[in-house]
Assembly symmetry: C2
Homo-oligomer: 224 residues x 2
């Protein structure tokens, strides 16, 4: 997940680097950090770091507190529930809209490919690759839904639970049958059955929510 793109500006660079530090856990959940420290760590002045932090705050990844440095936003089971509830609604609508658009096989190709990648990853028990393909699948789904705001929101939600997801990825049971659901979703979209597509995606997220919350509780992961 390391973001090695060359960012043309220091601010952009700071954003990607801070994101990596947060997602990798090097900046732990709930920990406080000074602008100056972060600036030195990234090898630039406070200004671009500050701007990066402001943007990350809008995305709910950090909290800038007046004269108290920034806190890496903790992620609790309640947050997980909130995120999944939002995803259930918005991805459900996106699925329905995608189905209503009479998409060609070419349009659906990326999703089909993502499913294949997930299955390949499951076959060799590579959970990171599975997660990456899953990301692409959901991203494509909302993109095909055609509502840019939904795409933006789901992207932010995905980022907010990235740390938690990383942990869960390795304590959850292997996602064996999820690709079967994914196929059914693509079929419903291809068939133009909006109601079915919505129902499948809602079900997918609702079940996942229950599973993940159960896992978090069982492992006493009250904050990530």
């Amino acid at each position: 997940m390391s973001n090695t793109e060359t960012a043309s500006s220091n601010t952009l660079l700071a954003i990607t680097q801070l994101r990596d530090l947060i997602f990798s856990g090097q900046l732990g959940a709930g920990t406080d950090h000074l602008e100056g420290e972060l600036a030195e760590r990234l090898g630039m002045s406070r200004t671009p770091v500050r701007e990066a932090l402001l943007r990350l705050e809008c995305q709910g990844l950090v909290e800038v507190r007046r004269r108290k440095g920034v806190r890496i936003t903790p992620f609790t089971p309640k947050d997980m529930a909130e995120v999944y509830d939002v995803l259930t609604e918005l991805e459900g609508l996106a699925a329905a809209r995608a189905a209503a658009r009479n998409l060609s096989d070419d349009d659906l190709a990326p999703m089909v490919q993502a499913i294949a990648d997930m299955e390949a990853a499951v076959a060799v028990c590579n959970r990171d690759d599975w997660a990456a393909a899953d990301d692409i699948f959901h991203c494509e789904l909302v993109r095909l839904g055609g509502n840019d705001r939904i795409s933006m929101i789901t992207q932010i939600m995905a980022d907010q639970m990235r740390r938690a997801r990383l942990v869960i990825l390795y304590i959850r049971p292997a996602p064996m049958h999820s690709s079967k659901e994914h196929r059914k979703l693509v079929d419903a979209i291809r068939a133009g059955d909006a109601d079915l597509a919505k129902q499948i995606q809602r079900q997918h997220r609702t079940v996942a929510k229950g599973l993940l919350l159960q896992l978090l509780e069982r492992h006493h992961l009250s904050v990530l």
Copy 2:
């Protein structure tokens, strides 16, 4: 809607002032502005203005473009459709969740009051007051839903369409029967009927979406 709170920092002050300038149309949709100009206009240096603009960009109110100044984000009928679709889903869920919570009459009092205010405003044909009460009603609804992310998102959506709403407010038919729907929603929540509450709110937003898009088209308002 003028925000006269004393902001302790210049950045906060810049945010509220820029918002007012945008919502009032003094910074017109699609127009470009230089950081320097805005800073001078607000009587402060570029730094806090820049930070304010970054925050407003996260909320979709402006777009900062490399060395081209900031553009006040235009709002088109497509945007309106997107916003209403998001609101339909998220407020629908919020309504259902609020209904599932066995709320007391005290909890519901703000919504009831808002309905009364809307009716009073309609009675004297004061559309601004009606809009303000309507804002409060929807804000309370999502708050009672208990999902902070939904509250945040709906707030941002409301801001994005604020300009458009202001125009529409005066060309739409008077909202005579909307308070009847609102009452039914509150009743459903009070009765704990989650499905009905969700259905009522979804219907409310769906109908409004159709009405507003029709109005925009009829008046050739393709950008606001």
